[in-house]
């Protein structure tokens, strides 16, 4: 088959319809589309796309298998390196990763839609309900703190090597940011649920309602397990630090999204309430800001997004910005809030100033500078602050021996080794708020380092296979 020149875009729900529901926006490739897109891959020998993948998926290989009509084989290749492909296919910022390095990007109809293909293959495998089998235990035990992408990825790799893993989750549901943060219309909870089921099928025990540092202490875990991995995420929301921020109707994106996603406040008759403003202002321009804006839109609001820099600096995925615009989210760029105005305890508006871009700052982005005399007021009845998050202090406070930075992130080397013997960390807890895939990469590296350590200590025979080569698979 002669390959099409142009990239095949992802079919999506019509914007006018989708703002009235919480169903997934991106509908997924049909088999026909997937095969046509797979045919565009040039199968480059040096696979430049792979250098953009934090978990080193063999991209040309899985695409080639798909193109050859072997989707099962394709899924196997994908799953060998990526424990959560149905999630990554949906939420990875591919334009800054694999697809950034695709040779077709500039002049040949656009990068191969690697993320869309990953999702197709992962969903295909998921629909066939192929569950991985549980490995026989090698005798080593590891505790994993948190159940977000870093932890799940670490747990899965350890379990594949025959390590008995117990995951401790503070909330009543496993998944971390995948269930409390990312909305249903971008990442359906059924998809997350299936991926977690697969991790559990590897023999990983998941204990919910355990707050490490409160319910159980790090010292106890270190005493009871051969190693401990902390993947507790960056859970603490940052606020603006301006007047009016404690008014009713002002919330962090974390709170707003948790109420809607985890607690299902968007459903009729839900017990957990959520603010339902008519005019909502979202502050920030990252993926979380887009999620909050689009969620508020679906709850019936007119939504304005306020960001102090310009469009070029918006940190969100391109697709999220595009989808937000299609859904009628207004962008007030180069605008900075200076005060939230209230009446009888509730939000009634926001005072902002206009900004212009000056010299580049430490992050390399041009620093926004206030335009004198540009103050103006916006009417609104709800404000959602999406300015990022910092690591949760509970673990550090209960375990001061753990070295952290001034920002509260855990100090660890590239393999997740912390200042404490046997204690590893990765994901947002170590880096500060980043992406799902970077967290997964960190989880994998820590799993590798833990296996090597277990081998050195003679707990397992071989870090590659967990010393499990004789055991075979037991269900």
């Amino acid at each position: 088959m002669k390959a099409d020149f142009q990239r095949h875009e992802m079919p999506t729900q019509n914007p006018a319809v989708r703002i009235g529901n919480f169903d997934e926006v991106a509908l997924g490739y049909t088999e026909e589309l997937a095969l046509a897109e797979a045919a565009r891959c040039l199968n480059c020998k040096d696979a430049p796309c792979m250098q953009g993948c934090p978990v080193n998926v063999h991209i040309p290989k899985f695409i080639a298998a798909l193109r050859a009509g072997k989707p099962d084989e394709s899924a196997e290749i994908l799953l060998a390196d990526n424990n959560l492909p149905a999630i990554c296919g949906r939420v990875c910022p591919q334009e800054n990763q694999c697809e950034k390095f695709c040779v077709r990007r500039e002049k040949a109809g656009g990068s191969v839609a690697i993320g869309n293909l990953e999702r197709f293959v992962a969903d295909y495998a998921s629909a066939r309900n192929v569950m991985p089998s549980c490995k026989s235990s090698c005798g080593a035990k590891v505790a994993v703190v948190g159940s977000g992408p870093a932890s799940l990825s670490c747990a899965a790799d350890l379990a594949k090597a025959g390590v008995k893993v117990t995951v401790f989750e503070a909330l009543h549901k496993a998944g971390g940011v995948l269930v409390y943060g990312i909305p249903e219309f971008r990442l359906p909870k059924s998809v997350v649920g299936k991926e977690i089921e697969k991790v559990a099928a590897l023999g990983v025990d998941i204990e919910t309602n355990v707050v490490v540092g409160k319910t159980v202490f790090v010292e106890e875990l270190l005493a009871g397990y051969d190693a401990v991995f902390i993947g507790s995420g960056a859970g603490l929301p940052s606020f603006l630090g301006i007047k009016g921020e404690t008014l009713d109707g002002v919330s962090s994106a974390n709170e707003f999204l948790t109420r809607v996603n985890l607690m299902k406040a968007y459903k009729d008759g839900a017990v957990t309430p959520v603010q339902r403003g008519k005019n909502v202002v979202v502050v920030g321009a990252g993926n979380v800001a887009m999620d909050a804006a689009r969620t508020a839109r679906r709850l019936g609001a007119e939504v304005t997004l306020v960001y102090r820099r310009s469009r070029a600096e918006m940190p969100a995925r391109k697709e999220e910005i595009l989808h937000a615009e299609e859904e009628g989210i207004k962008f007030e760029l180069l605008t900075n809030p200076v005060e939230i105005l209230g009446e009888n305890g509730f939000v009634r508006g926001m005072k902002c100033v206009r900004m212009q871009l000056g010299e580049p700052d430490a992050s390399g982005r041009r620093r926004p500078v206030e335009l004198a005399g540009s103050e103006f007021e916006m009417a609104c009845d709800e404000v959602i602050v999406a300015l990022g998050t910092t690591p949760n202090p509970i673990i550090k406070r209960s375990f001061p021996a753990l070295e952290t930075t001034s920002k509260g992130t855990i100090v660890a080397d590239e393999n997740g080794r912390t200042s404490v013997d046997g204690l590893y960390a990765g994901g947002d807890a170590m880096t500060g708020a980043a992406t799902v895939i970077l967290a997964m990469g960190a989880g994998k590296r820590s799993a590798k380092a833990i296996l090597r350590m277990l081998e050195e200590k003679g707990k397992i025979k071989c870090a590659e296979c967990g010393g499990n080569s004789d055991g075979g698979n037991v269900k």
């Binding site: 355990v210 929301p237 606020f239």
Partner: protein, 278 residues
Amino acid sequence: MEKYEIVSKRTLADRVNEYVVYAPSVARHCLAGQFVILRVDDDGERVPFTVCDYDRAVGTVSILVQEVGYTTMKLAETKVGDRLADFVGPLGNPTDLSAYKRILLVGGGIGAAVIYPQAKQLFSENRAADVVLGARNVSLVMYEEEFRKYCKNFHLITDDGSSGRKGFVTDIVRELLEKGVGYDAVFAVGPLGMMRAVCNVTREFGVHTVVSMNSLMVDGTGMCGCCRITVGGKIRYACIDGPEFDGHEVDFDEAASRAVMYREAEKEHVCRLRGTAK
């Protein structure tokens, strides 16, 4: 016993029940002043309750719950042997009154549940506190016998005089301070208005006062920021920085406003539960 099973349930006052829940993981480390978050069923909301007693050997934790809204009413419908969907903790920081010798505990209404374990602990440490217990009326007086046993001087007062003296807890707090009882600290727990009133009195006398903030919460681990209050001009989270704060520094007006943020939604749920929805 199963995880989160209700082991016993008894009515302590009008629409106030004590629930003893089997939760060994919580009982293992919990201390007075900390709280738990529970969900009654799988569709339920997450609601915080202060731990009022625990038994590490048996693995149980007791909470005292007043029927005020949807979830507390749902909880009241449960029976011994029922299982709660979730019960997580201990959350927040334990009460720390170790720096003080002469302590006055002031409890208003359901606040008795928070000062009761304190009274018991101080008694066991040989520095029994004085206690002022206030309630709207006799039907809402809790732990009277226990307080009499564990405290040095016990003062009971009700709004209508149906039990003990007639008046408000602040009447007694003021009298004691005017009399010159040299308290090192006052620990006041109850409705926001009562805690504010006590703080206004103790401020006059310059007596350090600790209050326990019962803010709205979702996760209870610092993740959502819903429970934020202003203390000494700074934003603090009741869940991870509290729940106890210097009462003279707390912005009670703001806390009172934030406490009713979801009142309309709550009313609707209660109507639905009672079958009186429009």
